[in-house]
């Protein structure tokens, strides 16, 4: 044996190497390795006899698990509305309830290990990727749920009680497997009080809109316009909706389908140019460095007149909104007289995704739980509790709504069939990130419209040619 065990240098070297190895290993050792559990195909799902009271044939004595994303909606709606509603018809079924802010971190190892919970509210910043889940056959086919009799009226199928767009949005590979429960309406939000006090009118054309912005700027009362600068999704949403209004719904379909040159289409360029102009002239100072809460709070303090947002806004801001603020929204103004879609066209789409895990122990109970959610009572109480519309037709009627939600519901009714939406944000998160990054630069004046379109088109083409990413079409 050597008499001199270690030189100082060797000690230092091994210490440094250990220090190097440990931190970078952390990121990857956190993910579970594939093939941990039984990978020999799905287990047979538990079933029970089908009866009129139990049309999906759930086993009446088997428990199941509900995992809810504890975000803007909280989890009270599940605990206090949907779960009691479910239990009222299936008293012997036990529901194991849990709520988390970190859906992917909590559940991804369970999916990889073959032991997923039955019912998942896959939402929030840390949601699991639906593309990856669909690619892997983790999503239960909900076709049977659509054709089952509805909770309220056995004569009407579930399919006929919900918006058609909810079915389209929940369909992956021709299979309906994701329930988009909440229905979000986007628009430009303002304070009725601020507008009334200053005699400002809701603009119906783009000229009126820019004139109003100019007027507000000159008045010195507040800044005309802002958006959540740190999250440019809020403004690219508006740009895309305006481009659909100018050029028709196909503009967005091409974008979703990663079509050649979809981002370089003329309506997209026009809409992007229009908002880049707003960005150059009328933004609240510092907008690009502020997040959604900061800009929305500035709005509540009457420091800015208008901002684009979804109908969750009123609920999100309930603690900072003055009592007489009077939240209301208006649809995007008409760009020219020859827009493809009429005034009142809205970006509205079902969101807040729920799915049943195909390889869980009791998937039918998860589907039955969805059937309860889609009842008039389940949906109506949800709307009241979290101030959000649902995909269940007419469920909000007769319920007490706050002013902002009322205005959104009215705008949605007026829009009728003129409703647009896009899906690439859910399908290709990489593309979403690139659009957000580029649009932030566009609004700050560091990218020209042409460069903006080139960059995004390049990313879109890259994803189209990436064989490891599953493609979707609509």
């Amino acid at each position: 044996m050597a008499d001199n065990p270690f030189s100082r240098r060797e000690l230092l070297r091994s210490a440094a190497l250990a220090g190097l190895l440990l931190p970078s290993a952390g990121a990857l050792s956190a993910c579970a390795s594939p093939g941990g559990g039984d990978s020999g195909g799905p287990k047979p799902a538990a079933t029970g006899p089908k009866t009129a009271a139990n049309p999906l044939g759930i086993p009446e004595d088997r428990p199941f698990e509900v995992v809810v994303f504890d975000g803007g909606f909280g989890d009270a709606y599940a605990r206090d509305v949907h779960e009691p509603l479910f239990v009222s018809r299936h008293p012997k079924v036990q529901i194991k309830h849990s709520a988390t802010k970190e859906i992917a971190k909590t559940l991804q190892p369970r999916f990889a290990g073959g032991d997923p919970p039955e019912f998942v509210n896959n939402s929030g910043d840390n949601a699991m990727d639906f593309g990856a889940l669909a690619q892997d056959g983790q999503l239960q086919d909900l076709g049977e749920l659509l054709d089952a009799p509805s909770w309220d009226d056995p004569g009407v199928k579930v399919r006929d009680t919900i918006l058609a767009s909810a079915v389209e949005l929940g369909t992956y590979d021709g299979k309906y497997c994701v329930l988009n429960y909440a229905n979000t309406v986007w628009g430009i939000w303002y304070s009725k009080k601020l507008f009334a006090d200053n005699g400002w009118q809701v603009p119906r054309t783009w000229d009126e809109f820019t004139t109003l912005c100019e007027k507000i700027k000159k008045s010195g009362r507040c800044a005309p316009f802002t958006y959540a600068g740190k999250h440019p999704f809020y403004i690219y949403e508006t740009i895309l909706t305006l481009s659909a209004k100018i050029g028709g719904a196909d503009v967005l379909k091409n974008i979703d389908n990663l079509a050649d040159g979809a981002w370089k289409a003329e309506p997209v360029a026009k809409a992007a140019g229009a908002f880049a102009d707003i960005g150059a002239k009328y933004l609240l100072q510092g907008t690009e460095g502020l997040d959604h809460i900061q800009t929305q709070t500035a709005h509540n303090k009457y420091e800015v007149a208008m901002l684009p947002c979804g109908s969750w806004l009123e609920n999100e801001q309930k603690d900072t909104t003055p009592a007489d603020f009077g939240y209301a929204m208006f649809p995007l103004p008409s760009f020219t007289g020859s827009d493809a879609l009429p005034y009142g066209t809205l970006h509205s789409r079902p969101g807040e995704e729920f799915f049943v895990a195909a390889r869980s122990a009791n998937p039918r109970a998860g589907m039955e739980y969805m059937r309860a959610m889609l009842s008039k009572e389940g949906a109506g109480k949800f709307t009241e509790l979290v101030s959000t519309l649902t995909v269940v037709k007419g469920a909000a009627e007769g319920r007490a709504l706050k002013p902002g939600l009322q205005s959104a519901a009215a705008a949605l009714k007026e829009a009728g069939a003129n409703v647009t939406y896009f899906r690439f944000r859910q399908w290709y998160k990489e593309l979403h990130d690139e659009v957000a990054a580029a649009t932030g630069q566009l609004m700050a004046g560091r990218l020209k419209v042409g460069e903006w379109a080139d960059r995004i088109q390049k990313k879109s083409d890259e994803i189209r040619n990436d064989s490891s990413v599953k493609k979707f079409t609509r």
Partner: protein, 314 residues
Amino acid sequence: MTKVRTRPPLVNRTSLTRGRFIAGFLSVPVLLYLIYVIAPYAQAFYIATTDWRGVSASPRFVALENFKRLLSDDVFWTAIGHNGLLLVLMPLLTIVIALFFAFLLNAGGASGGVSGVWGSRFYRVVFFFPQVLAVAIVAVLFQQVFRPDRSGMLNAPLMALGLEPIGFLSDPGVAFWSILGVLVWQAVGFYVVLFSAGMASIPREMYEAAQIDGAGRGQLFFGVTLPLLWDTVQVGWIYLGIAALDVFAIVWVMTAEHGGPDHSTTVMAAEIYRNAFQYFKFGYASAMGVVLFFFTVAFAVVAMRLSRRERIEF
């Protein structure tokens, strides 16, 4: 053969017992190290050759396709560039500032070389504060400091003077330097303490001898303190280099778009996290991890080579 037999058998038995004794102590930590450090590494290398998306039980083998794609991934190269810049600037700035402060605290006093400036005990505690704060807290704190409106600590005075606010975190040309500033701010305290400890062990007589020969403060620092502190500085440089390659939380928590705006502050660890836990491209992210692994090993080797230098015995 004959040589072995000439050894006294007693020694052989002792060394065997000793070997067993040592093995008994080492086996558990080595086993733990194998399971929790080496095995995940091996796994990462394997996952890097698949297109695993995190939920499948049977990922597809794609050989080196992930690495080929990395070559043309602009964002990843931007991230590597930022890590490279941090690798040079963060240790340099931190060490220079920390040495300056440590010298003032230990040998910068009015008496000329033998004591610190007035109040040095107090400053020593204050300098260490950032080290006590959790990284996430530091990030959130600086988000507020850098706010671009009247609530921002740095921008409020600017705006009061009628100047345009600076987009510390929102201007892509400025954001990276803001991040570097925070990283240096956070690291300096620890190295002040480290260098202070090193300086405390330098014999007073050396300073006194130099002073008698007429050396000023600058000469004291470059002629006495720095050469005698060289070993400690080396250790500091290696630790800081590792930290620079490993920057993640500050960038992820503090910046818009997690590494933005427009990828202007992103680093390798952030790209790995994004691809793994946001895009669910675990195979691709693992390939990035493998690249990061080779960068860090290369850094370690280079650092060892460069720091091979004669020590001054005292």
